[in-house]
Symmetry: C2
Subunit: 362 residues, 2 copies
C-alpha cells in the first residue's frame, strides 16, 4: 500500500489515474505515441482535450454561457491575468480571507484601483469575513474572493449572493484548492479560476471558467497568450497548451465520474472533515484555530499544544506512512490537506496516529 500523502499541492492523485498514465506512457490507445509526444493539433490529442472539457463541464454543471479555458501560470499568474482582463483599469474590490486573497489584492494594484472590502487579518485569518459586512463600491468591475484559503484553512461554505447585497459586479473566485470538492453555484459567479495542482493533479495547468460577456475587455498591455479572448477564440490552443497536464486532469475527471461525481465527493469530503475536526476539537493535545463556520474541508491546519513536540510528531507520522504534514511556514504547526484523492482510510489513519501520539505525550 502507498503511504498517505497530505501535501497541500502538488498533491496526491488517485492511484488508478497514475496506473493508467503509466500504462499508456509509451503508446496511447494504439496510436504509437505517448500523450506527451502528440501534436496538440492532431486528432488524438484533440479527442483527449474535448473529452476533458466535456467531463469537467458535466461534473461542475457549467452553464453554456461559460467558457472553459485551459491556461498556464497558476493562481499567482491569474492574480495578474484576471485584472488585466476584467478590470478595464477601474475599481476592483477584494475580500481578504487569508494569504492567497492578500496576494491577489497586492497584484491587482498593478492594473486597477483596488480596495479591500473586508479582511480577517487582525485575527490572523481565522474568521470568515461575512458578506453582510463587506464594503463594496458601486463602480467595482469585479469582486475577488478566495473561496478556500489553502494556507489558513478558511473556506466559504456558500458563495455570497452579490446581487442580494446590492452589488451588480461579477464575483471572481479563486477556487484552486477546493474545485470539484463541492458544487459551484454559477448564478453567483462570473469567473472561477483554479491552479490544477491541488485538487486536480498536475502543476502547470490553470483552469479558468468565465462567463462569455466578461471576455474581450483586456487591457492593451495584456499578453496575447493570457488574453481570455485570444485563448477562447483559439480553443485554448493559441499557444501550445500543457498537453500532458490536461490529459492527467482528464483522467482525474473520469475517475471523479466513476466515484459518483461531485455530489458523492462532497459527501465523502464532509465525512472526512468531520472525522478530523471532530477529533482535533475533542483532543487535549491538538488545536485548530479557525472559527467553525469558516473551517475548510480541504486544508486543516492544526497545532500541537506543545510545539516542542513538532519534530517528533512529524518523524512518527512519516514512520507510519503519513507524509507531508508540516504546516506552511507562514502559519507553522501542521496541516493536513485532505483533497478528493485522499480516501477516508487516510484520514482514519491520521486520526489513529493523532490519538496514539496524544496518549504517548498527553
Amino acid at each position: 500500500m502507498r503511504p498517505y500523502n497530505f501535501s497541500a499541492g502538488p498533491a496526491v492523485l488517485p492511484e488508478p489515474v497514475l496506473a493508467q498514465a503509466a500504462a499508456e506512457m509509451l503508446d496511447w490507445h494504439g496510436s504509437g505515441m505517448g500523450v506527451m509526444e502528440m501534436s496538440h493539433r492532431g486528432r488524438e490529442f484533440i479527442s483527449i482535450y474535448e473529452q476533458a472539457e466535456a467531463d469537467l463541464r458535466s461534473l461542475l454543471a457549467v452553464p453554456a454561457q461559460f467558457r472553459i479555458l485551459f491556461m498556464q501560470g497558476g493562481g499567482l499568474g491569474e492574480n495578474a491575468i484576471v485584472p488585466l482582463n476584467l478590470s478595464r483599469g477601474g475599481q476592483v474590490d477584494v475580500v481578504v480571507s487569508g494569504a492567497w486573497s492578500q496576494k491577489s489584492a497586492a497584484e491587482a494594484r498593478r492594473y486597477a484601483d483596488v480596495a479591500v472590502a473586508a479582511s480577517n487579518e487582525t485575527d490572523g485569518h481565522t474568521s470568515l469575513p461575512a458578506p453582510a459586512s463587506w464594503q463594496l463600491r458601486d463602480g467595482a468591475r469585479y469582486v475577488h474572493l478566495c473561496s478556500n484559503e489553502t494556507i489558513h484553512g478558511v473556506e466559504y461554505q456558500q458563495l455570497p449572493d452579490l446581487a442580494a447585497l446590492g452589488c451588480s459586479a461579477p464575483l471572481v473566485i479563486d477556487c484552486s484548492s477546493h474545485i470539484l470538492s463541492r458544487p459551484i453555484d454559477w448564478q453567483r459567479v462570473g469567473l472561477a479560476f483554479a491552479g490544477a495542482q491541488k485538487n486536480i493533479g498536475p502543476a502547470g495547468l490553470t483552469l479558468v471558467i468565465v462567463r462569455e460577456d466578461l471576455i474581450g475587455h483586456a487591457l492593451p498591455v495584456c499578453p496575447s497568450a493570457f488574453d481570455y479572448k485570444t485563448v477562447a477564440d483559439n480553443g485554448s490552443m493559441f499557444n501550445t497548451p500543457p498537453t500532458y497536464a490536461i490529459y492527467i486532469a482528464g483522467l482525474v475527471f473520469q475517475w471523479l465520474k466513476a466515484q459518483g461525481g461531485v455530489a458523492a465527493m462532497e459527501a465523502r469530503n464532509i465525512a472526512k472533515a468531520e472525522l478530523l475536526y471532530g477529533y482535533l476539537d475533542r483532543s487535549g493535545l491538538y488545536r485548530n484555530r479557525v472559527a467553525p463556520e469558516g473551517r475548510s474541508r480541504m486544508n486543516v491546519p492544526f497545532f500541537l499544544h506543545d510545539e516542542r513536540l513538532n519534530d517528533s510528531f512529524l518523524a512518527g507520522a512519516k514512520e507510519r506512512g503519513l507524509l507531508q504534514l508540516k504546516g506552511h511556514k507562514s502559519v507553522g504547526g501542521m496541516r493536513a490537506s485532505i483533497y478528493n484523492a485522499m480516501p477516508l482510510d487516510g484520514v482514519q489513519a491520521l486520526v489513529a496516529y493523532l490519538k496514539d501520539f496524544a496518549q504517548r505525550h498527553g
Copy 2:
C-alpha cells in the same frame, strides 16, 4: 518497435525516458509518492529540480553569470514576457526570418517601439537574412532573433556577433526548436528562451537563460509571475512550477549526457540532416525551398512536385509507421521534424519510404 514520430512539437521523446517515467509514476525512488504528487518545496522535488538545472547548465556550458529560469507560457508567452522585462518601453529591433519571429515582432509592439531590422518575407521565408544587411538602431534595448524557425525550416548556422556589427545591444534568441541540438555561443547572447515541447519534451515548460545584468528592469505592468527578477529571486518557485515537466526535462538531460552530450548530438543531427536534404535534392519528386545556407537541421519542410499526391503520401507513410509528416497549414506540403530524440534509423526509414514512393509515382 514504436513508429517514428516526426511531429514538430509536442514531439517524440527518447524511449528510455518514457520507460523510466512510467516505472516511477507511482513511487519515485522509494519516496512513496509519484513526482506529480510531490510538494515543489519538499526535498525530493528540490533534488530533481537542482539536478535538472545543473545538467542543463553543464550540457549547454551556461556561464555562471547567466541564470536559468523554469517558466510557463511557451514561446508565445515569452514574446510578451521578454519585452515586458527587457524593453524598458524603448526600442526593440527584430529580425524576421519566419512565422515565429514575425509573431515576436507583433507582440513586442504592445510594449516597445519595434522595428524590423531585416525580413525574408518577400521570398516566403526561404532565405536567411544575413547579419551584414541588418538595420540596427543605436538605441535598441535588444535585438530579437529566432535562431531556428520551426514552421519555415530556416536556421542560423552561427549566431551573429552584434558587437562586430557595431551594436551594443544584447541578442535575444528564441531557440525553442533547436535548443540542445548544437552548442550556444554565450558570448553572443544576452537571453535565450525555449518552449520545451520541441527538442526537450513536455509542453507547458519554458526555459529562459538570461544574463544577470538583464534581470531587474521589468515594466510596472509585468505580472510578478513573469518578472525575471521575481522568478530568479525565488529559484523559479514564486508560483508553483510545472513540476512534472521539469522532471521529464531532467530525464531528457540525463539521456543527452549518456549519449555524449550536445557535441555528440550535433554530429548525429548533421548526419541526419545531410541524409534527408541530400536525398530530397537528388530526387525528382520532392523539393525543399530553403536556401542551402539557411536550412534547418531540425525542421525540414518539403513538397511533392505533384501536390495531388499529398494524401496518398501521408496515408502510405502512416502505414509504414512514419507519423505526423503533414506540413504546417501556413506552408503546406510536408514537414519532417528530426529532433534529438529522432534516431538516424528514423530518418533512414523516411528516406527509404521517400524513394519507394517516388519509384511508384515517378
